[in-house]
Symmetry: C2
Subunit: 386 residues, 2 copies
């Protein structure tokens, strides 16, 4: 049910012909009674037209609908591209009886190409016609935002006075400052926009922002959260419980993105412990996550801790190279900056890999999720646009 599991939401996913095959336009509508919304966007300065539009449209804390398309990012398309996004919002608003200012737009696909508006606008109308509260409608929406994702990503959670549903797409260009992706999260909790915004930012900080598949930050990343207040016990939720559930939904979706990243053979959780601050733990983990040599080593089944140390050594986080420890899948193969337990004890045959780095400099920790670097990654990304 995901995004239609919370009361007050309808969804649809249709085929407009923007992609060579499959659904490519999703629509999610919040029927209220509340229309609180919050969103976070890519920090890339080359932001796509839909990011520029949606950031402005959501700034008043209200959104009634989100239109998402795959088959084109509408990035680096100039004023014409922005006009295309504006027309998309106007068109959806008219068909739904809303104000265009309350319609957010998200796009994903190739950069530097105009969208086929002759296909997109009829597709938006078709989506409006197919809106439903059933599970099939929510799944169709999750399907429609896929690009090279091999599976649709959904997550949900609930507690007293609230239900949360979410969909996301990822696959390539996954990096921090926002894991390059689109996600829409719905809830029927009774929340004002600023409370929703604060909860979303905290959830994104420790979930999507810590998913770093290939170090490449997209121009289109968007996470939208909408609250309808339509829960039977709306207003009865505990704020802490809601925040924890929202964070869990975001973590769940982020993990699914990493599990299905382009061409990956391993999903890798890099946990840095003993850091002076949480930020330093994140910095150390991200440096390792961005080392192509570390990533190829994991692909090769090689627990190469020297490449992990070399990556941490490029940062300015507090640690002493002569005391740092590193474990791979529970085996402490680096002790005190040197050779530790026998590396032949490390089993890398499973997809999931756990790296633990102990900086011995404090109590803080953080986990970064990443992938290995494989032949399939090179293949998919060298052939993508040609």
């Amino acid at each position: 049910m995901t995004v239609t599991l919370p009361e007050g939401f309808r969804a649809a996913g249709v085929t407009a012909g923007l992609k060579s095959a499959g659904r490519d336009i999703a629509l999610i509508v919040n029927d209220g009674p509340l229309h609180a919304a919050a969103a976070t966007f890519t920090s890339n300065r080359v932001a796509a037209a839909p990011v520029l539009w949606s950031a402005q449209a959501v700034s008043d804390g209200r959104a009634d609908a989100v239109v998402l398309n795959s088959g084109g990012a509408n990035a680096c398309t100039g004023p014409e591209g922005f006009a295309d996004t504006h027309r998309t919002a106007e068109h959806a608003a008219q068909a739904l009886g809303l104000s265009a200012q309350d319609v957010l737009v998200c796009s994903t696909g190739l950069i530097g190409q105009r969208l086929r508006m002759d296909l997109l606008l009829p597709g938006v109308e078709a989506a409006v016609a197919e809106l439903g509260e059933d599970e099939g409608s929510a799944l169709a929406a999750a399907e429609a935002i896929r690009t090279t994702d091999t599976v649709a990503k959904t997550a949900q959670a609930s507690g007293r006075g609230f239900t949360i549903g979410g969909i996301a797409k990822g696959a390539g260009m996954l990096a921090p400052g926002m894991a390059t992706m689109l996600a829409v999260i719905t809830t029927d909790a009774e929340l004002d926009p600023s409370t929703l915004d604060a909860a979303l930012r905290e959830a994104v900080r420790v979930s999507f922002d810590r998913a770093d598949s290939d170090g490449c930050m997209s121009t289109n990343d968007t996470v939208v959260a909408m609250a309808s207040g339509a829960h039977p016990e709306a207003g009865a939720h505990d704020e802490e419980e809601f925040r924890a559930a929202l964070t869990e939904v975001c973590r769940d979706l982020a993990a699914q993105l990493i599990a299905d990243a382009e061409g990956a053979a391993h999903e890798i959780a890099i946990t840095t412990i003993g850091a002076a601050t949480e930020e330093q733990a994140e910095t150390a983990g991200r440096a390792v996550a961005r080392s192509n040599l570390f990533k190829t080593a994991i692909f090769g089944g090689d627990p190469n801790w020297g490449r992990i140390l070399a990556a941490v050594g490029t940062t300015d986080v507090e640690f002493d190279p002569s005391t740092i420890d590193v474990a791979v899948n529970g085996v402490w193969i680096c002790r005190a900056g040197g050779i530790g337990e026998d590396r032949s004890g490390v089993d890398l045959s499973e997809r999931r890999v756990e790296v633990t780095i102990d900086l011995k400099s404090g109590e803080a920790e953080a986990t970064i999720l990443t992938n290995d670097l494989t032949h399939d990654y090179v293949h998919e990304n060298s052939a993508y646009s040609t």
Copy 2:
């Protein structure tokens, strides 16, 4: 002739058995009359034992000899590894009749393994016995520092009152703050250590520091320069001419490293023009050089300027996303942040690729050298230590 082309130098390269095949110990001796020396080292905080040793040994501006070994980096080997480097310097010094404090040591190869001192020390003796001023000796030294390099790298230059020779090795872990590599540059110019040091730092800044093959900074990078003052017209050189020639030798070696980087199919020069400062030009170029999506696109013959803009957009350099231009091999496929000339006019069939980014924010420029990301890179680096 390279490192033995300048007067006052002898070299040797021998096989000690540290690698599975081929020469693996190089020795370069400065017979004077001057023994001025300067060196730059990796800025990686996980610095290898030979880096720690050599940085201290060269701090007085004097070096009489450099011992270099492939077949082991002697990094992350703790106090025992440092003792191994110390013994290597002592052993070479004794055989050459020098002080160990005047012998620099460089190592390259796998991280996290002790060196086979039972092979290395006899190898140092053999190298001392084979020292020669001939071309074969210089080439043997260049051969002995190779790891996965497919060819030996040498360069030379001369002017009134000076000759310069250089050798280098690179291949993997090539990144900034020092292109991960070893290089030894000799000259017979009459130079005091501080002048040599200033000239070397400026030359390295615009050459090796701007070679960024895979974004991974090594624990062992070292560039050593030694001046013998043995030129027949020693002291007659023009300081500007010498600096320019030294920079040219460093640029030549850096370009050779990129041309022979592990598994690369293209060598890519990313020139950023119209930057507010030279540092900003370097930052923009480096961001592109580190984008795996850009690198795989070039491998796939795809002039994907959207990925170039997305990479520049992650930086804080001065530019306006709506005015930036990008050319690939002379075709301005991105104009004013949007679609420019026809991308089908870009020919990527040659190894050499020229990317030009015009930030339209000033007069400064810089060129970063990098490689594409290929199946061979993944293959070589996933299989390296297993």
